[in-house]
Symmetry: C2
Subunit: 328 residues, 2 copies
């Protein structure tokens, strides 16, 4: 079985997105529109599900569109309303396609609002909707980085709930309002690198040994600079990365060329890599060099010729270990 | 001959640093202290120069300490005074060790101050001190990214002077005041990735075909995600990276493990890679896996077994092409 740990509902029906547009525009808020099961089926069957079948992927761990989380828009109430609709829609996908999609929730974060106020939505999604994890935005300000680092105790209320519920978080930012950054071209990758370095500097996992975090997009710049991070840990008097981080931190395979995947598997243990593609996502085209989609990451992983045991870990067992609520 | 394109004067005499401390502390500013030639020789001979000799490096393109540029401290006058002292000190190093060091200047940037006001110092350093390039901080705010992207026309006055003087810039941030970021662990790498993506999105080099920019630290996350950037160029309707960027953008080899250097050379043409180590810099320890310094990047490059022509490009010819004022 092949599990893709990183999919977003980027093809959600237009009525859902239009409601958000109305919400952000201000003025009288229309009721959330009716969206039929057929509209949801249609939005999935010819995009994510078709591509999953073509690529031989059985199950996608599926969350609301990351770039549309937009925690920096509106206030806490707006973020909460939008988040519930997004999560409910993902839950409907998981009920319509229970063999193919497992839910991961967006959190109703809002700049300056304590993360404890996101715990209720996490509980609702896990306990009532059957979700298996959450996406955690380390920068709900949308590129201004006004929250404390992820290792700050102010984040612990969420982490404690995650540990209790036995669900991980993927550390994933959303859109960005600073013109210096391109969301998928730099902000996402920068956030991945930033989060890893924060984790390297502190003792979060000593405090919370049951906490599990997935750093997406192949870990940002981290595997490419693995020697730099090992060396910085040494200079900062921190224990080796393997001891402090690799029991709790995982990377996906959202790296869109063979050389990058080769490097990821060369430096990061197979126990810490979860297959992922983030399709249909940031990069949707076909690579003229290969004739295949850039984000068809299974091809790169297949080309590694991994030992059977590592292959099973990366495609399935690690995902089941990190997301133990997966029941498919 | 082996040229290291990326060295900072991280071992500058204490009196120089103490003057900066006094400047930042406010109060009556003491005169800049006398620093003897012997003090400068001492600061170089047992650190950079010793390591260069041990590693077989002949010449280092040498600039003031990047983390100490601190453009976000004080006002324009403070930045200008500090910058002149830093550049003058580097000039003294180049005069004491003309065979081993060539100067690259810091610019007197200050948040909100037009970059045109940095041109005079660039001219002074190139025309009077014999410098061969400059370091350009894309974020003089120190981690708040309040300047426009590097492709904005507001930066063009500097670029036009660089083209006229035939000197390149290394795009290099300084220290960071936002607790989310670690200077050398995430801010530097993020800035590299950010700058590359900015360049990908615009037509800077169509406007200024003679402009040359070096992106340090192996290009941040870029080579590891080369497929992502190629795919994003495609999605954004931009020409291939090779056409739009690789005539003007160069990466150094400041990647501190073999797998990272292997990847860099696999995806980036040898014409676009300049040997660099950034020693004595961000990572100063010895890798217990190899028994050698993490930043002894020559060992990784040697292990590639490059064709002689590529080797000559990476070690010397590219540096002479990018920094044509090099005369050693």
């Amino acid at each position: 079985m092949i599990i893709d740990c990183h999919g977003h509902y980027t093809t959600a029906p237009g009525a859902h997105t239009a409601w958000r547009d109305a919400q952000l525009a201000g003025g009288p808020l229309p009721p959330y529109p009716p969206i039929s099961d057929d509209a949801i089926r249609e939005s999935i069957e010819d995009s994510q599900l078709r591509l999953m079948r073509e690529r031989g992927v059985d199950l996608t761990i599926f969350s609301p569109r990351a770039s549309a989380m937009g925690h920096h828009f509106g206030d806490e109430a707006a973020s909460t309303a939008w988040t519930r609709h997004c999560n409910d829609l993902v839950a409907r996908v998981t009920r319509l396609f229970p063999a193919n999609f497992a839910g991961v929730c967006q959190l109703p974060q809002s700049p300056g609002v304590p993360i404890a106020r996101s715990v209720a939505e996490l509980r609702r999604c896990v306990e009532e909707l059957g979700f298996v994890g959450c996406n955690l935005n380390p920068d709900p300000s949308g590129g201004h980085w006004t929250s404390p680092p992820l290792t700050d105790r102010s984040w612990y209320p969420l982490y404690e709930a995650m540990v209790e519920l036995d669900v991980p978080a993927m550390v994933h930012v959303s859109a960005v309002t600073n013109a210096n950054f391109h969301a998928t071209g730099s902000h996402y990758l920068n956030a991945d690198t930033t989060a890893f370095m924060q984790l390297l500097q502190a003792d979060l996992f000593r405090d919370l040994p049951g906490l599990r975090l997935v750093i997406p997009h192949g870990g940002g710049a981290v595997p490419y600079h693995w020697g730099r991070f090992r060396g910085l840990a040494d200079m900062l008097g921190r224990p080796p990365l393997e001891e402090t981080l690799l029991g709790n931190v995982f990377f996906d395979t959202c790296v869109y060329h063979q050389a990058g995947i080769d490097l990821l598997f060369e430096v990061v243990p197979a126990d810490n890599i979860l297959f992922g593609s983030e399709m249909v996502g940031a990069v949707r085209g076909i690579d003229p060099r290969t004739g295949h989609h850039f984000d068809d990451t299974r091809r790169y992983v297949e080309a590694l010729d991994l030992p059977a045991d590592d292959r099973a870990k990366v495609y399935e067992r690690n995902a089941r270990r990190v997301y133990p609520r997966l029941v498919v």
